[in-house]
């Protein structure tokens, strides 16, 4: 509780509520407010504005699961599988054909097709060093060698 002598401005006769209201102010207030309310643009009551229905929660939950599942499947199953397949193709190509290719032919093919070689020691192990984009096909190699 605040003590009365605490504030220096509270001298004798100090009135901290020197306010009045017009006569009938409170009697007419409701009408004036309701008049303003009826002039408002039509509002949809808040409870009817609830856009999210229970079934939407279920559908969005299932959709979220599918999306997460798809990314998981793609990143942890499909992608490694594709990478393995690709590496297998490269390995096959190297095992069966690279031995018969001339160094210049292979170098030209890699340069023309802008194939990136990862690692800075080409020739150590092609299975580990070559990263091909797009995928080398046997036809592409023959086509390149015919030129």
């Amino acid at each position: 509780m605040m003590s009365e002598d605490r504030f220096s401005w509270e001298k004798e006769g100090f009135n901290k509520n020197p306010y009045r209201v017009p006569e009938d102010y409170f009697d007419t207030l409701a009408d004036r407010i309701l008049r303003r309310i009826t002039r408002q643009p039509d509002r949809i009551p808040f409870q009817n504005k609830r856009i999210i229905k229970p079934w939407m929660v279920w559908v969005s939950g299932v959709a979220a699961l599918l999306v997460v599942g798809w990314f998981g499947f793609r990143n942890f199953y499909l992608k490694p599988q594709q990478e393995n397949l690709f590496q297998e193709q490269v390995a096959l190509f190297v095992d069966f054909y690279a031995g018969e290719l001339h160094e210049d032919q292979l170098a030209n093919y890699i340069e023309e097709n802008q194939i990136e070689l990862t690692g800075d020691q080409p020739g150590v192990d092609y299975n580990n060093l070559i990263s091909l984009e797009p995928v080398i096909t046997e036809e592409a190699v023959y086509e390149s060698l015919d030129h």
């Binding site: 504030f7 001298k11 009135n15 009045r20 407010i33 408002q40």
Partner: protein, 185 residues
């Protein structure tokens, strides 16, 4: 004796029924309009401003009541809306004063003079001028505590600040006003 006045919960249910909405609203107003008016008036001082703020408050209550979740009491909820409306009003008034080249002291005194429903003396007007010089937050805290006897706990909910910060703010405000009074005597 049978009490025919509907409870807050009954009033809210009535309000949610479109056929009874207006009646419920009138009953809510009849029960709380004076308390809310005086709460607002003590914060904004001038009757015309208090009337504007109260009407805006009641329109917000009308619009918000269908979605009111009753996690607090009806009056607490309305009181919070009224406080926030008054705070918004005071902040806008302070910005306006900062933009005007006139002396803020004259502006405040002239506002009081133009209010036919104000009977304050020189001392009261001087106090209001000193309050208006405080930073907005301190001003709000001082008005709520000193004029409206709000508890620190209620103020902390309305102003979203800790009780400790409210107490510190109030004491800083009192110290500044007292010092200004001493200097001007």
């Amino acid at each position: 004796m049978i009490n025919n006045t509907p409870s807050d919960t009954e009033l809210i249910s009535m309000f949610r029924d479109p056929h009874q909405r207006e009646r419920a609203f009138r009953l809510i107003l009849a029960g709380y309009q004076e308390k809310l008016y005086w709460h607002i008036r003590r914060l904004v001082c001038i009757h015309e401003d208090a009337d504007d703020v109260l009407q805006n408050t009641m329109i917000k209550i009308w619009n918000g009541l269908p979605g009111f979740r009753e996690s607090s009491g009806l009056y607490t909820w309305m009181y919070r809306i009224a406080s926030n409306e008054a705070i918004t009003f005071l902040k806008s008034r302070q910005r306006e004063r900062a933009l005007l080249a006139d002396d803020p002291e004259d502006l405040i005194k002239n506002r009081f003079k133009s209010d036919p429903y104000y009977d304050g003396d020189e001392l009261f007007a001087k106090l209001q001028v000193l309050i208006a010089r405080l930073p907005p937050k301190q001003q709000m805290v001082f008005r709520m505590k000193y004029f409206d006897d709000m508890t620190y706990e209620d103020m902390s909910v309305v102003l979203k600040t800790s009780v400790g910060a409210m107490k510190a703010s109030f004491h800083h405000a009192v110290r500044k006003i007292q010092a200004a009074f001493v200097r001007s005597d």
